[in-house]
Amino acid sequence: MSTTDVIGSRRLRREDPALLTGEGRYTDDLPIPGALHMALVRSPFAHARITAIDTTEAAAAPGVRAVYTAADLEHLWANPMPCAWPVTDDMRNPAHYPLAKDKVAYVGDAVALVLAESNAAARDAVELVDVDYDPLEAVIDLEDALSDRVVIHEDLGTNVSYRWDLELDEDAVQAAFDGAAHTVSGRFVQQRLLPMAMEPRAVAAVPAPFGGGVTLYSATQVPHILKVMAAVTTGISEADIRVVAPSVGGGFGSKLNVYAEELLALALANERKEPVRWVEERGENAQATIHGRGQIQEIDLAADADGKVTGVRVRLIGDMGAYLQLVTPGIPLLGAFLYCGVYDVPAFSFTCTSVFTTMTPTDAYRGAGRPEATYAIERAMDLLAAEVGVDPAEIRRRNYITKDKFPYTAVTGLEYDSGDHEGAAAIALDLAGYEALRSEQAERRAAGGTKHLGIGMSSYFEMCGLAPSRVLASLNYSAGGWESATVRMLPTGKVEVVSGATPHGQGHETSWSMIVAERLGVSPDDVEVLHSDTAISPHGMDTYGSRSLPVGGVAIAMACDRVIDKARQIAAHQLEAAAGDLELSGGVFRVKGSPDKEMPLAAVAFEAFTAHDLPDDLEPTLEAQVTYDPPNFSWPFGTHVCVVEVDEETGAVEVRDYVAVDDCGTQINPMIVEGQVHGGIVQGLAQALFEEAVFDADGNPQAASLAEYLVPAAPDVPSLRLGHSVTPSPTNSLGVKGVGEAGTIGAASTVINAIVDALSHLGVTEMRMPASPLHVWEAIQAARGTGGEGLVAEIATDTAGADRDAPSDTLSPQTQPGGGA
């Protein structure tokens, strides 16, 4: 293989040998001599006043060195816990400190902590801390929260954190609905999910009391953001905080945060001058690590007689949980721009009201607002297909933004860079054998039976990159959207790359080495990639929102180009040629027309290092640092198709086939791309079929372990079949778009569309997620009018379902065949 076809090859990951042999070090694997172990006393009540805390017995327990309550630590905080996304000027954000002082607002809210000589001693002592609570009523229902029947943060006077409207042309929306030949409406519940990264969170804070500040090791996606926020919150100088993210065992957004335990370990290590470490138990993870989703969505579509959508109207209630974490309030906004899906929609209105509840704070979880939006529009498109009386694939074809319209300015004002939805859908439908499946479905329905075939599809856009900064500013996001990269030629011709992107399983080192190899004409093996340590990589905006490649990867390519520019001047000087006459190929500069005059890049690097004979105006060494702020979001897209068999008698759903076409632009390493898509699809499919963070009416989590919360195992999920198309992004030189969340964004609606399709001839038009056998069976009974849905309330109380007595997808009457529900 030459170095010019590295990009696009299925290169094996350089990360793997260490991870496969146990050599990889996650935060809790780090040996920290003399570290004190921290354990937290957590509230067993969802909402209660703290009336007394007695730490005497715990403090006297073997191995215990200290026990603290909130009152003991007030001097450690310069500011409350950070929320970096004040979405409106009047957003209500209750001050929130690492330990709760007077009140707790969710089960798992920390009220005290123990430092001890071993983890076991610390955990034992937690049981000895005596906390008196005066329980208050829980608020777990979003519409109940909205009513202010019980106000959680009394000083705010309301449970509403904010109302945010996308202020577009309301008259145009009204006109679209007034003139519509067809309208459909859907009400969907995005149930709360637990991210469940396989590595629980872990922290170790190590002070260097005689002059080195504090090093904070954390299982985080965002060491750079954490460093800034930790300085702001604790008042410790930013110059005295170094943050390191060692190997990180998955994040999915749940490690895109600034957590109480990180701040407590840092502040206590700094004050006590001794290391403090903490590792999360899985049960704590289910309570004290952010949750995902948590929305009630109402969407209305207006369409003309042909089913061409003329208007979309969306009303959202967002579940913030008990407090605002780092980007909690912004999650519904990230989805706001995607409720028109991949369709050419001329009129759109969106409003979101977000409320506090007495449950764990929500925040970014894989897709973060975009799977929710895609679910709503893709379910609504299926409702529209039924209303108009055309096939779901056909209703989409009539509405796709066509390939020739890109770059396309959406009604929201955002510009979509490139796309070919019809093309991606055609590949997916062909791969799935769509026409044959529809024939099979018709034959089986005619023959009768109790197992039903369903075919579902979804097309999606993934707004990703999470840049440019000026657009983030318009959304009141408090940080930029840039990324930093340094590319440095070493004297021996090897290359050192420093990236501000922070991997937690994605294989950045491999991908970055491939970009550099292709650009500079060196071997990927000669490229060292440094990251995830603020002492090594001081600038960065970290990894979330599928941004690493379209922002951080592009920054690396740009830095390579600047290195080449400088190297060209040095080579021209050495070869006594004009810089413009030099060509770089395969890592060697050659003079056009004089093939015998050449200089390898490695030799240029050595000249730059010795600096013995450089052009007069050139500095020694060969390196470039680039901070790249993209001109636009990037817009990966695709179409998924799911085929299910649903057993009418048991409600069991079997996924027979799953086909996905994801177009993420240029693929650096197709093997890695496929892996991202596989994992993403299964996470979305898991929302559709298995997962829900259930709470009882008192706010007690009912699925707070991996024994109760149904993260799918290998036999629970199908083998996936992937196709792809490649539509490069025109906004960056690599043509890349990002892929981390794509699978998740398309999957849940695809699966639910398939299940509803399977049961549509029974009158089923709605399906509550997760589509467990119980929920499927209830939907069938409801369609039959036998009232089976009432069983839900008896068996389990569902937080997300505002109306407990009905399945979550309740539709307005005009779309109900025969007045179903």
Binding site: M198, D525, G675, A707
Partner: protein, 171 residues
């Protein structure tokens, strides 16, 4: 209590509390941190090791129960600087992303193949999926883990150099 456990071929003595779990003996006393802890309900399988040749979840075995036993951890799989074929298969088939579940997956998979060989059965995709039911992964969707185990079971390891030759889907 005093226990002696042969770990990756070396006899190791340790004093442990009766409540000490085998995984904590391995991680904290012996410093073998390749075995990970992902839950507290014996659900995730990240801590899977071989105990006297059988795969077990080391969070569900007391250290004292392992007294006198032979334990193999992920650190004992690669020998002489060469990855075990199962490790190689995972690398060649992109069977890992964040790597946290990976040691447990490798240990469970090698035991699965050994059991199939002992029974004289052939592993197909369904059998591999069922056989790994006790090991959770949040990154891969299992697709390439299954592909890795099947490749190893079929001896299709070592064909790839640094560039993967396999094209896409699971057989």
């Amino acid at each position: 209590m005093r226990v002696t456990v042969t770990v990756n071929g070396v006899a190791r003595d340790a004093d442990v509390e009766p409540r000490t779990l085998l995984v904590h003996l391995l991680r904290e006393t012996l410093g073998l941190t390749g075995t990970n802890v992902g839950c507290d309900t014996t659900s995730c399988g990240a801590c899977t090791i071989h105990l006297d040749g059988r795969s077990v979840k080391s969070c569900t075995v007391l250290a004292v129960q392992a007294d006198g036993s032979d334990v193999t951890t992920i650190e004992g799989m690669a020998t002489g600087g060469e990855l075990h074929p199962m490790q190689r298969a995972f690398m060649e088939n992109h069977g890992l992303q964040c790597g946290y579940c990976t040691p447990g997956m490798v240990m469970a998979s090698t035991a699965l193949i050994a059991e199939a060989e002992a029974d004289g059965t052939t592993l197909d995709e369904r059998a591999v999926r069922e056989g790994l039911e006790g090991n959770l992964c949040r990154c891969t969707g299992y697709q390439n883990i299954v592909a890795s185990v099947l490749a190893c079971a079929r001896g299709e390891v070592g064909n790839a150099t640094d560039v993967q030759v396999r094209q896409g889907a699971v057989a």
